[in-house]
């Protein structure tokens, strides 16, 4: 078997390119495989309700209210749109997209308030915020109903 580091007749250690390429290929394959499975942290933005300045004209907008029950059922303006087991929420996404388009045509911002029951799962709230992101609605507020 040839030695890993070749030794010339004059005693100099020669650089071997073939093993280096082998190692680089292996490292590259590792990073290529890792690149496919990497998790990326993303964000969903929301604004807390605050004090509005009253010096200018106040613009009244239609507020849409999405409620999330403890069981995970989602309703838009008291109309049930997504049962607890529904993860894709296509109906909700479609309705929100149409609302956004109607708001854009009327040049009126679409404001959505997500109201969740206290014991409802946070992941369900994120599902709703994700659906709002699909519809392109950015004026989103999230609140929780008061505990009795």
């Amino acid at each position: 078997m040839k030695p890993f580091i070749a030794q010339h007749r004059d005693g100099d250690i020669g650089f071997q390119i073939a093993p280096m390429i082998d190692v680089v290929f292996v490292i590259m394959l590792f990073f290529m495989v890792m690149a496919g499975s990497v998790k990326v942290e993303k964000e969903l933005n929301s604004q807390l309700p605050g004090n509005a300045e009253t010096s200018g004209a106040t613009e009244f907008v239609d507020e849409q209210v999405i409620t999330i029950t403890e069981a995970g059922e989602i309703s838009l303006n008291d109309e049930p749109l997504s049962p607890p087991e529904d993860r894709t929420m296509d109906r909700l996404k479609g309705t929100l997209t149409r609302l956004k388009e109607a708001g854009d045509q009327a040049k009126s911002p679409t404001l959505v308030t997500v109201v969740s029951e206290p014991a409802a799962k946070y992941s369900r709230t994120i599902d709703v915020l994700d659906a709002l992101a699909v519809a392109g609605i950015t004026n989103v507020t999230f609140t929780v109903t008061e505990e009795d």
Partner: protein, 152 residues
């Protein structure tokens, strides 16, 4: 600059140097996209799934609040900068201090508008997240972002 090598008889021969160049560029590319995405996260928090969320803006000045969820006790724990805050009032004070530090330039990012990033566990209740939001509101921050991951 020679694109490809040529032998004396006009026959192209394999050039090792450009191949190594390309190989190293590819290696650096894959290294950067994997290492840049490594989550600087609290490992005990399992973030919820949101494939359609927007890419995280790393230029903002922010305070990151981790909301752990203890399945046994069914209670949340609020962590900011590796410190556990049992009381929401203390968390609010810590957020306010971070905001002040950010305004003074101590932790100021390229985008100076301050926000609170809530990294809540997917099993947490809406109420526990709402308490973290209340802490942000008491600290005078109305810009809230929720963290999520693109895949399980």
């Amino acid at each position: 600059m020679a694109g490809g090598g040529g032998g004396g008889e006009g026959e192209p021969e394999f050039q090792i140097a450009p191949m190594i160049d390309v190989l190293l560029v590819l290696l650096i590319f894959f290294m950067s996209i994997t290492s840049a995405q490594v989550l600087k996260v609290d490992k005990s928090v399992t973030l919820p799934l949101a494939p359609d969320a927007i890419k995280r803006d790393n230029t903002r000045s922010e305070a990151i609040v981790n909301v752990r969820w203890d399945m046994k006790t069914q209670k949340p724990a609020y962590i900011m900068d590796d410190r556990v805050y049992p009381e929401v009032a203390d968390l609010s004070k810590a957020i306010a201090d971070t905001k002040k530090g950010s305004a003074a330039g101590a932790t100021r990012g390229p985008n100076p508008s301050f926000r609170v990033v809530i990294r809540g566990d997917r099993d947490a209740t809406a109420m526990s997240i709402s308490r973290a939001m209340n802490a942000a509101a008491e600290a005078g921050v109305s810009d809230i972002s929720f963290s999520a991951v693109n895949k399980d």
